[in-house]
């Protein structure tokens, strides 16, 4: 079938500024949007620039806006699109470097700000630290995060203020706060109990909708808010 791909273009090295290019392509219904972009890059215009790696939704390279919402290009099939015209734009709220490539530095800076690593200063046992299946499943949802930035860049609070740590950072804090083996929950809650922590979340839910890993992002943020409010990790 024929698909029209309307792609955002911006090359800092030419004078064209930002604009859209339209490509008409022959596609299979089971093609991924990423396949369409590859088709353009390989056969039509090699200057089209985007990130990609694993191509099946695990590496998190190819978060873009497809028809106005954040998606991974490799997880949307042509047959899932409502129209045969596909609008492709870079994710919002990060500087555009070239075409669909954005500067991820602020995103990772926020991620690193929430102590996104396991902290337990007790000397480890000879074998593994024990953890019951229930304790393990408590934070399972947030371990799925692939740091693709789909959630953070779908958040209106992040769009208007770059200083907001963003849903992704809170999700990664949640993963450790609720890990029964970890000891730095209080520090993380202190970090997130801040003007640019959880309080910029206005439960807009764009993040939950955008997450390609189907993490309940807003729920995780809500649980962190509640933990701050009650001092309990339930």
């Amino acid at each position: 079938m024929e698909v029209k791909l309307k792609v955002f273009r911006y090359n800092p090295e030419d004078d064209e500024g930002k604009h859209f290019d339209t490509f008409t392509l022959e596609a299979e219904p089971t093609d991924r949007v990423l396949d369409l972009l590859e088709q353009v890059k390989n056969y039509v215009d090699g200057t089209l620039t985007f990130r990609r790696s694993c191509a099946h939704g695990v590496c998190g390279s190819d978060a873009i806006r497809i028809n106005g919402v954040n998606r991974l290009a490799c997880k949307v099939l042509v047959q899932d699109l409502k129209s045969k015209t596909v609008k492709i734009e870079p994710i919002l709220g990060l500087e555009v470097e070239k075409d669909l490539v954005v500067d991820m530095e602020p995103f990772f800076r926020h991620y690193k700000s929430v102590l996104p690593y396991f902290v337990n200063d007790d000397p480890p046992p000879m074998k593994e630290r024990l953890q019951s299946p229930e304790e393990r499943s408590r934070f399972d949802d947030t371990t799925k995060c692939i740091l693709c930035a789909s959630c953070t860049t779908s958040c209106p609070s992040f769009w208007i203020n770059e200083e907001y740590v963003g849903p992704s950072a809170i999700v990664n804090a949640h993963r450790f706060i609720y890990d029964s083996r970890d000891q730095a929950a209080a520090e993380r809650l202190e970090i997130l109990n801040d003007q640019f922590g959880v309080y910029r979340c206005h439960t807009i839910f764009n993040c939950t909708d955008a997450c390609p890993r189907e993490i309940e992002v807003t729920k995780a943020v809500g649980e962190v808010k509640k933990a701050i409010a009650t001092g309990r990790l339930e």
Binding site: V69, L92, D103, W159, F205, N206, T218, G222, E223
Partner: protein
């Protein structure tokens, strides 16, 4: 050179966030609307006199009242939804359903109120 990260209002509104995003936008607008309404009311009663009466006429007009009533009902119901979800994050799983549910409450209540208001206005009360 990179393109600025700034997301304009229009670019933001073009993001297809769906029901919950709409609810958030309306919550803001209705909240700000009520502040304006109450501010007008307070100013009017403080000032009194001609200016007070002039302001009173504005906010007592049917059209303004229709907006205000919608604002109050929406802001109240949506606010309660947010509070419920904040206090029991486990219900956030049903956030999509919760926005549907709130419209099922808001629309009949507002419809009924608006009907009463309009019919009384037409009856000249």
């Amino acid at each position: 050179m990179t393109l600025d990260r700034k997301v304009g209002l229009l670019a933001g509104l073009r993001y297809k966030g769906g029901g919950p995003m709409l609810a958030w936008i309306l919550h803001r607008i209705t909240g700000l609307g009520m502040i304006v309404f109450i501010a007008l009311h307070v100013i009017a009663s403080l000032l009194g006199g001609d200016i007070g009466i002039a302001i009173n006429t504005v906010y007592q007009s049917l059209y303004f009242q229709l907006f205000v009533v919608f604002g109050i009902i929406f802001h109240g119901v949506n606010g309660l939804r947010i509070i419920v979800l904040d206090l029991w994050p486990k219900f956030i799983e049903y956030q999509r359903e919760s926005t549907w549910l709130e419209w099922f409450i808001i629309l009949p209540v507002y419809g009924l109120t608006a009907f009463v208001m309009i019919s009384r206005f037409l009856a000249g009360e």
